[in-house]
Symmetry: C3
Subunit: 269 residues, 3 copies
């Protein structure tokens, strides 16, 4: 496996200068942090879910996030309206299959979104993505459980089957666009000690997809930027509470030297 | 333009001693921060939106906040019920026209609230308020875009037309009650680096309107107190994450000397 | 009144090793903090409210939290479905009667939940619990008002009448299982300066109820752990903003020595 030098800082600079609008239909738990991570990256978040306005909002956005964390049947219908508008405009749609595997509603809703709309990035932890890919795994809540299948293969096959990029987050993140598969080996254990880092990673990914058409590269860059900031924050933090605040400080101040000396992206053979 | 010495600290002391109840129907993104800013000011927030109880809640409140950040059609109906109860009781109603100009639903809902209920304060950024005032502007998300019209005139005319106070936030804030127009030149650029400071300012304004009948003065005082606290926080902050936590610390500890030496309120000619 | 040595640290260790899943139907104001307190305790939060999935979610959980802070009629129906599933599985159900006394909807919904489902812990401040117990008191918002009745008696009688544990939080917390009544004298005034500590306490209680069948003991342990962490945070905090972040840091790092030297639990005669 060889180390890959991706232009993550150049893409971060593009986010900061172009300030893309990232429309979210997301969960009520981490909605603030989803919006704030986009803002601190230098971009512009919109959170709106009313069926009467989602299509219009996606029409003024540069990327769309769908996160099913606290879904309802009606909320998923709004997601479909937003996604169809995004598809028509040609902006990337990122789906976080949060909690897939835990209930039938989550599985069915995720698959309905993937079947009825063009989804450009499917993102989740190992058990969530494996469930969407048709693997037989058990989910305990929204935390990753051990998945027997080779996750790189799962990601690559799902990417090929759905013609999208697939991101499986974990101790090391797997990103596949069906052709190329990357591993991101950044981040810090404190990320798993608080609620919301998974959702924030999704919003970061969408923000980078808004400025870069190569979605595999955009997903890698979004994850690397977020996780290198987390590493910086962990160095200064005294625990999970201060870690979270410092994560915003570090992301806001992230410079080329820090990012390029810390990023650990690998290309799978 | 002459500097105005407003009794902001006296009003803050009144908030701290009377502890008014501020009922909110607000958005799901910043709902915690809206409640917490009221609490840290020394007052008592209530967040409740069920149509079955909003009238009763407004009936025990001293001010009402309506913020359309994540509106739905049903939510706006609850807002009308709450506003009518507030009107009947005679407590001030503050409307944040968050995102007006971005979708038809936001424009129509804002105007329906203003037409069907007595709104005492209309608050937004330049493009949002200009849209409500009938100016022709474009909104990119909820961030202010350049508005050609003279904003002081926009605020004054809207205040006269709707017989309410109007607040246009921005690098300098404009407050008009139709007769008097003020500028507040406090605040710090870090306020624009995080999500929620606009909503928090609205909740601060409503808290001051709960204890002061001169709404122009109350709006100025709420903004000045919030923004001077932000200036204190910015001095100590290491970025947007620590800034937000320190904003609460500084607001909680804000004393007469700091406030009076820092407040920059001007009376427009 | 004699001091009681409860095995709070042993239960905290049990939470950290067993990592119970705590399913919440809670309010939109503090939903992040409810989830995060569970996470930082070392357990696993799930927030889900769709009627189509709540029963299935409670079926994979180890405890259920019902918090009516921003209730709607439909949301309470989802709570009933979740509670019935929890009852069937035999996991503890903790009800925070947030805002009871403020509106008819809150009173009726709380009583409907208690009547139609098995509730294992009823928790609120003095005026909220007194209202549920049938005492005649007034609530100003969700803050405690002075209640004339002897609160220990109120707690004990309600516990006996409803065959559950009752927790009344305040400057000193009262916990009764109908037979034994305890007082917890930990905590810090800064807890009352921010929004959310009441809800977080409820989620902490539920987390401990997930690993300990003696519900009176579990409630005491949850409160003691949360409030000793708050005491540690208050020592280092510079105000309510930094207090909240440090609360997470201190809870995450809480060790046997600190907890055992600080816990102040008393047994009522």
């Amino acid at each position: 496996m060889r180390k890959e030098r991706i232009q993550a800082f150049e893409l971060l600079q593009k986010v900061r200068s172009e300030k893309p609008v990232v429309h979210h239909l997301t969960n009520w738990v981490t909605i603030y942090d989803c919006a704030n991570i986009v803002k601190v990256l230098g971009a512009s978040p919109i959170m709106a879910h009313a069926p009467e306005e989602v299509a219009q909002m996606s029409g003024i956005a540069n990327a769309l996030v769908l996160n099913i964390g606290t879904l309802t049947v009606e909320f998923v219908e709004s997601m479909k309206l937003a996604a169809k508008s995004a598809n028509q405009k040609g902006i990337p749609v990122v789906l976080d299959v949060c909690g897939a595997g835990a209930t039938a509603l989550r599985d069915e809703s995720s698959l309905a979104l993937i079947d009825q709309c063009r989804i450009d990035v499917i993102k989740g932890n190992a058990s969530e993505v494996a469930r969407i890919a048709g693997e037989n795994v058990r989910t305990k809540g929204v935390d990753a459980s051990r998945v027997e299948a080779d996750l790189e293969i799962v990601a690559q096959r799902l990417a090929q089957a759905r013609r999208c990029a697939v991101v499986i987050t974990g101790k090391e993140d797997i990103i596949s666009d069906g052709t190329k598969t990357f591993l991101v080996r950044n981040g810090h254990p404190l990320m798993g000690s608080i609620v919301g880092t998974g959702c924030m990673a999704t919003s970061a990914i969408a923000t980078f997809c808004a400025v870069e058409k190569d979605l595999g590269l955009a997903c890698c860059a979004g994850l690397v930027v977020f996780e290198v900031a987390a590493e910086c924050a962990a160095k200064k933090a005294k625990g999970p509470g201060t870690f979270k605040e410092l994560l915003y400080d570090c992301l806001y101040a992230l410079d080329r030297k820090t990012l390029e000396s810390s990023q650990r992206v690998y290309r799978a053979p």
